[in-house]
Symmetry: C5
Subunit: 358 residues, 5 copies
């Protein structure tokens, strides 16, 4: 049980009281090494490389080509700091990159734009949605992305750059930034589909065979909804702020794409809200199915007791030892007794039939 | 069960990671062919035709007459693309037309207006509300409408054009566009009436004879309310944005009609909200009727047990085999025993009467 | 049952697909004839008449005196059309007048103002609130009011005009229009008082003697609250829009009266909301009173069973036929048996006393 | 019961249909006489008097000193009218003063400001919060206050004026008006403290010894919360509107005091909201404590029945009269029987122990 | 019980009716003495001292260095007054400092800014969150902080000043003020972590072994959420107002830090809201687990009763004393009787198996 549950909040308190901009990584320090890759391209040229030292990326800073530097694994605080110094990132921005409990947000700074997103993945093993923080820095000729772990949803974007598919190679870093955000948001649909499947199978289970685990499952689904909401609601604001931004870093032609992302975000929020409604409805069904079951149990008890208790009383009567009980000695009384018992039983049964208990 | 339930969300993830504007149809690909029809009219002339190739519609593009091109069945991606290229539609707009999980929306582009609506229909067979996406493109001299399937709510509009009924033949494409939206919205009232009937029959059932299926029905009604809300709430925004729009494509005289549609939208929202309140109320009634039933069962059990358990004890007493039990040998004790039993029973019954259990 | 329930929605679908402005009456066509009356007055003169043909009112159109034309019974579509043509009413306005499922609204048109209100009445017979649509058209020198049925809340206003009571004869048609709205709103207080009485009597019933009908009553009260809300919430907007309106038809001095109506509207909304809270509270009380009753039943059952089941067992022991049962033959054992039974019973009773079950 | 409950709404309908500004007092007409007092002061002079005729106050109207006229008991309609005429109050304002079902409000008129407040008092006898309407009219050199009954929360303000304590004697009528509002709002804290005490004692009762009256108490507390909310929520708006007002009657220096009152209002609203949350929580506890009790009853019943029913069956077996029952004649069978019974009982008890039922 | 519960509201009524600005301390007057410390620093110099008389701090008022005066224990009203007079604080500000039931707020006055915060601490002993009011006054060269008790969350800030860590020594009093607010907000994360731990352990308890105390714990957690919300929600407004403020006391460079605090505030609010959702979910689980338990008890009762009541009836039959009962005399009837009983029992058990009751 213990291991399945993601901690409710990140250990933010580690940084409490430290001067602002102090760089402390608050996530789990996984054993895996940090991986840095870059892609540098314009309409004609393209190169891609996994580098061992971040400094290898610095030459591209001044070239007019679009450079995308991707850092997987931000537990190497030193590295983040080196990158930050080279690209003039504000200490508070670096702190936010490391502090993975951030809320999705959009910030416009003097020479660059800073975006925090939540990339979700569905762990089949843990049957739970997991969130990973993705920080994007959009500069005049570059995009830097920071991720907590290896593995992401950007593979298709990379393919499009490599194969010059779509317009991506003809556009600037703002379009790349949009493409990354779009990939993150599109991935939410996949997560929602997983949840939709679980909701549907749960609904069938509810009708067919609810048991004690059903409630726990409903509860865990509710928790995931809460996680989703926390990731998705701020996104709406973020995308809308980015669209309204007057920064020179975002070219006019990108607006229409951002509005597309915005529409997707609204669609996702709508879907999450209706899932919430459905999950709440399930709880009602579950509770009333418990009541129905108890009702069924009670009916069985009542039928049995109501039929046999009076009969037992009758049998008890003729088990008495009074000297003077005329019926005792009559020859047909035993037969009459059985007839009475059968008639009483039939009356009871027909009464229960009328009451719809049988 | 499986077949009755509409999937909770469209398979949007099919398009995840693809470049924006990649045209993929996300709905079910039904076997039926695509049908393209056009109507071309002005105050005096009128022609209507079902064409086999979309190119037959292109000549009307430059004529000053109003042209309405209607496409039933958008699973033919190629066709949509051809149309899009001819009429200069933005790739993202084409993507939205095919991606039938869209939210109703209103978008103003340079040379045309793009509107997404949800056309609802009530399937008596599945006892459920079904939604079909209708996309409208309003240009300077044309309206193009895209539907997922054959069959729509526009027949009356066609009649009005054919017979020059009302003002429709005297007005421009913006009025036609309004007429189509109005037909979609008016149809919502029909859906609401179906739901009202179901709610009323459910309320009678609730009072008369609630059973285990009642809850499932209430739950399914709740789900349909959620579907309805998702289709209708954004509509309000849409119509209001269209009314406030300063696009030259919408003439001033059309505003009063749009406000009429807006009023209808608000009326529909009000009605859906009060239906929701009623359905919630039903759940309370259902749950308390279960409680009442259980109460009734308990009372029967209690009455039977409370009357016969003490009597059985009494009978048990005189079934004992003690040597020295003076009552056993008295001649009247059996009669006295019955008298006592009858008195005890009567006392009990009158007690239950007083308690209102009988 | 059937007849008592007002239909949940008006058959709006009758007009679906028709050209806008097509005049169709959607309410019940009652047998009663249409009644048209007019009042024409200024500070000095006054005349009032019930006319048989609407054309008799037309001469007043151009006179500077204030004319109030009241139409009871709008099922005569022809008549409404004639009036509409004479007074230049927009077809959509006429449609709204006939379409009695309208939401209260305020619309400013070029030469007149159009207001839709809901006049409520409490039917003692049906124990329900009924709504009737009142449409007001305010022109430069006239007010036209349309009602669905005979009988209204305007009698006092008529009296004030007849007797030149208050300022009404000195003021223009905007003041008359205000006076009619005020009468409708004041009437809501009467409805609320009826409801308050029902709520109070229900609360007493709940404490004293709740039964199965209580729930149905609470539910029907909830439904009436929903009806009320639908009539009243839009009213607030309506009055506020009218106050803010810059139409020349509403003179400056009328603003203070409109704000008074606005205050009343808010007061009514507040009251309806607190009624809703109370009715919800009642449901909680009802449900917990069911639980309490079940608890009481359970206690009786438990007390009886707990006392007599062990005693019956004891009696059963000495009803056994074992050859070697020493107690059977002791002379005092029957007496001892009774003593034991009495002691056990007393112990049980004192246990239940301590548990507060008795 | 009847007498304890305050009527849900004031008989507003008394005034229905009357011309606006018709003066009708809607409250209870208590026997006590009307009391009129005035205080007239500036920094140096001060006089205070209880007058028998309202005309005695009129000379102060033109003096530059601050005059506070206080009227206790507004059922004397004539008197209110006289005052109104002298001070040029609008008929609708006078109507609002008499119509004690008003909502707290702030109205700016040409020469004066009109404020309606609810003064609350806690009646220990009725265990309920009671509201009294206080209307304030703030003119250039005077404040007139109207109250429904003798007895108010202004005694401290009077003391400050009499003894020239604080700045009150140095300030104008707007400060006096603020001081009165502040007294009313400060008094709310006292009411909240009373409620807090009741909530706390209720919570202890809930844990210790809930009974059938607990629910009624929770319900009545909920009702009082509703009353409080109705009095307090509009206050926020009122004070904020007053602070933002640009009337010349409110001097700039008074703003900081109004903001102080505003802060208090927010604090009170916060507190009332958290009280509401707590009271809702209590209901949950109460309902689950009923369930727990029923559970306890059920367990006792089940334990008794489960132990004795099988034993009674066993005893029944050996009470049978079959000719050939070998055990009957064995000499040790009675002893063995008891041993079996004791073992069965012990097994059962240990089973219940394991299940935590004992 | 009594001592554990923090009073629901502060005794605000103590100050009711007093002139505004009357200084009364409303908290508990603890025995401990007041402690006053100051820190005076600029980039190069630094001094820190605990003073016995507040007057020792006054010389720093005119120096250009940053001075932080911290007062622990505001029950010494005289002292607060002296400070207030020296630093020209408005009487209402002083009243707010002493009146510890304040809501967090931000007020801009002529020469200084006044901020009220709630510093939370988690008392392990009382298992409850406790709030302490911290008032900050930010002037041109000084910050004055008032606390209710010794002990705070500012130790790290002091360290940073002492050791010139970070930028604090290079910045002005607005940065110091930010640092103090940041420390208070960061501390909320620690509180949330404590609560998260309690929620998680509660969830495990709920699944494993819910008992009567569980509900009380859930209820007390709900109360703490209410306390938290009351402290945190206004904070958002506060920080946002401070960021938007155009006061010259807040330099432009501080804005980015305030926005950082703002982000944290939003994060905290999000977390508290999702905790609330979880705690509500727990109540549902608890209630349904009670129902499940009752169901289990009922099943045991029903199984026992259903099996043994018919068998007891059978045994009763053959305990009757009728003269003519043929079975009685048959030699195998006793054996047949047992066989019948065993078959009936097996049938019952298999029936319960099918019903999933066993």
């Amino acid at each position: 049980m213990k291991t399945r549950k993601p901690r409710l909040i990140k250990k933010h308190s580690k940084t409490a009281g430290l001067p602002p901009g102090t760089l402390v990584y608050v996530g789990e320090k996984e054993g895996q090494p940090v991986r840095i890759t870059y892609m540098d391209y314009d309409e004609k040229s393209f190169q891609e490389k996994q580098v061992s030292a971040v400094e290898e990326c610095f030459p591209f800073k001044t070239t007019p080509t679009v450079t995308w530097i991707n850092v997987d694994g931000i537990h190497n605080v030193k590295l983040v700091e080196t990158l930050g110094t080279e690209y003039d990132l504000h200490p508070l921005v670096l702190e936010d990159i490391l502090n993975t409990g951030q809320r999705p947000k959009f910030e416009e700074l003097e020479n660059y734009i800073f975006i925090v997103l939540k990339m979700l993945s569905y762990s089949d093993e843990k049957q739970a949605v997991e969130a990973e923080q993705v920080s994007l820095v959009l500069g005049r000729t570059f995009v830097i992305s920071f991720q907590e772990r290896l593995g992401d949803v950007f593979e298709q974007v990379r393919e499009r750059i490599r194969n010059a598919k779509g317009k991506i190679r003809k556009m600037g870093p703002d379009y790349l930034c949009y493409a990354l955000m779009d990939a993150v948001v599109d991935n939410y649909f996949a997560i929602l589909e997983k949840l939709a499947e679980r909701i549907e199978s749960m609904e069938e289970e509810l009708v067919a065979e609810p048991d004690e685990h059903t409630l726990a499952k409903i509860h865990s689904m509710k928790r995931e909804m809460i996680t989703l909401r926390k990731s998705i609601w701020p996104l709406r604001e973020l995308v809308s702020a980015m669209d309204r931004s007057e920064s020179k870093l975002i070219k006019e032609g990108t607006g229409v794409y951002l509005r597309d992302v915005y529409d997707h975000t609204i669609q996702i929020i709508d879907t999450v809200e209706s899932f919430r409604d459905m999950v709440s409805g399930m709880l009602d069904i579950y509770l009333s199915s418990i009541s129905n079951k108890m009702n069924a149990v009670m009916k069985v008890l009542t039928i049995i007791a109501t039929i046999f208790i009076p009969l037992t009383f009758l049998a008890g009567i003729y088990g008495m030892n009074f000297k003077y009980m005329p019926e005792i000695d009559w020859p047909w009384s035993y037969v009459v007794f059985w007839v009475v018992i059968i008639i009483v039983t039939l009356l009871m049964v027909s009464y229960f039939r009328r009451k719809k208990w049988l």
